[in-house]
């Protein structure tokens, strides 16, 4: 019933690219998001401003435009640096800006801005009394963060996190436009070559739905875990 006309292996490979890309950029986005949220809540004026500009600008521009800017522009920026080094100091460095890494960095950078907003809201929602209680127990700041702020923050952040992940997953499809061979690109290529768009695009759409459903299930489990002690409100 599912006739992939020899494109099967490449489609599976493409699906692998999609999943790796999505997971790695999610990790990067979470790290950037935590940094951004911390910067936004810091007392340092400069850090707060930088974080605000970052989240505002990134969320105001289409993903695809940012991708093209970072992907094509990033290459030229790297060239400018390496050319400068070569001509001025005869240092011939080789920076491999490969498409996959560029994709991860770009998507992670974009979603770091969204994560930043999610985490900031979640941190603010943690009851201050709890933190004070931790300090009163003589916990260090790091311990307070690990034992009290982080787990409680996650409880509030999970719905936003899950939402961002779903959007991020779909955003990975855009890398096919800038030349990364993910499953959308293979499917588009196959439909052009065989003139059967439905045969390839529909299964790929189904894979996205499958990933979305599985992650939804995982997020429900996670939410239950982090809700322990709150009577499942």
């Amino acid at each position: 019933m599912l006739d992939l006309q020899g494109y099967g292996p490449r489609l599976i490979e493409g699906a692998g690219v999609t999943i790796q890309l999505a997971v790695l950029s999610l990790i990067l986005a979470i790290i950037l998001g935590l940094l951004t949220a911390t910067a936004k809540m810091s007392r340092n004026w400069f850090l707060r401003r930088t974080a605000t500009v970052y989240t505002t600008v990134i969320r105001g521009v289409p993903d695809l435009v940012l991708m093209m800017l970072l992907f094509f522009g990033g290459q030229i920026g790297v060239n400018a640096i390496s050319d400068m080094l070569y001509y001025n100091y005869e240092i011939d460095i080789y920076i491999n800006f490969n498409a996959f890494a560029a994709g991860v960095i770009t998507i992670g950078f974009i979603f770091g801005a969204y994560m930043g907003e999610t985490f900031r809201g979640a941190f603010m929602a943690v009851d201050n009394g709890q933190i004070e209680a931790g300090k009163a127990y003589g916990m260090s700041n790091a311990l307070v963060f690990r034992r009290i702020r982080f787990p409680q923050m996650m409880r509030h952040a999970l719905p936003g996190l899950s939402n961002n992940w779903m959007v991020l997953l779909k955003t990975t499809a855009l890398v096919s436009v800038i030349g990364l061979t993910d499953m959308v690109r293979v499917a588009a290529e196959a439909s052009r070559a065989t003139h059967e768009p439905f045969a390839f695009l529909l299964p790929v759409a189904a894979v996205y739905l499958l990933i979305a459903s599985v992650s939804e299930w995982i997020f429900v489990r996670l939410q239950k875990r982090y809700d322990i002690g709150f009577g499942g409100q």
């Binding site: 093209m68 800017l69 290459q75 779909k170 959308v184 739905l209």
Partner: protein, 243 residues
């Protein structure tokens, strides 16, 4: 002062990229993006209202198909939906002979259809959430007045649901503006299409994409402020009363 104007003249004179011709492309792109986004939002909204009411129905056989529709369109990338519609319509047998073809032949309409179906799915869920959140008291009051189900929907539930949906809908409008950037993939010369053209011709990614990013940023802010203004007007009763 003189320095600045001289500097500005130099800037334009020595500039190979931002000529009247390329600025013309950006302008056409702006018009295309605006048309595409505006029309799909309007059509999506018109579709979403009845769909949201059906989606909120107690009868499974009414609400379930709508749920499938929104689940599929919200769960898959818009790019795939666009590809399926753009390439898919071509392979419907004999479509080239029907009177639909002059419409579907243009890249604009397949893109418009894909965008409309996509935004309608998101908007349906936004409205459904807002309908669900109608306070019990309001419904009971309407019942007590002897209102029929449809009258209650029209007079009580929908007006308040619209207001509650406003902030989320504002986000959807911005999301749609950003999502429309993929129109260039099916040859449409929207804002992003113009930027890609300028980039490919002059190998100047920073000039091409930063400029277009700035335009998108302005559009985003315009939408943001428009919705803030609407919220202020329509949700005034929900604001905390301070002198």
């Amino acid at each position: 002062m003189l320095d600045i104007s001289a500097w500005f003249n130099d800037l334009l004179a020595g500039n190979l990229i931002f000529t009247p011709t390329t600025l013309g492309y950006y302008w056409e792109g702006l018009v295309m993006t605006t048309q595409l986004v505006f029309l799909s939002l309007v059509a999506g909204l018109v579709l979403a209202v009845p769909l949201a009411i059906m989606r909120s129905s107690k009868h499974k056989w009414i609400s379930l198909p709508i749920y499938f529709y929104t689940y599929i369109f919200r769960g898959t990338p818009l790019l795939i939906q666009l590809y399926i519609i753009y390439y898919g319509v071509v392979f419907i047998d004999g479509i080239q002979e029907t009177f639909f073809w002059p419409i579907l032949r243009e890249a604009f309409y397949p893109a418009l259809i894909a965008f409309t179906l996509n935004t309608a799915a998101y908007t349906t869920e936004i409205f459904r959430g807002a309908i669900k959140a109608t306070s019990k008291g309001e419904i009971e009051a309407a019942r007590a007045y002897g209102m029929s189900q449809s009258l209650m929907m029209r007079r009580i539930i929908m007006p308040s649901a619209f207001r509650r949906a406003l902030p989320a809908y504002g986000n959807e409008v911005i999301f749609m503006l950003h999502a429309s950037a993929i129109a260039s993939v099916v040859t449409l010369m929207d804002l992003t299409g113009a930027a890609r053209f300028v980039y490919a011709r002059f190998y100047a990614p920073f000039d091409a994409f930063l400029f277009v990013a700035a335009i998108y940023l302005c559009l985003t802010f315009a939408i943001l402020y428009f919705f803030r203004f609407l919220e202020k007007k329509l949700l005034a009763h929900l604001r905390p009363q301070n002198t």
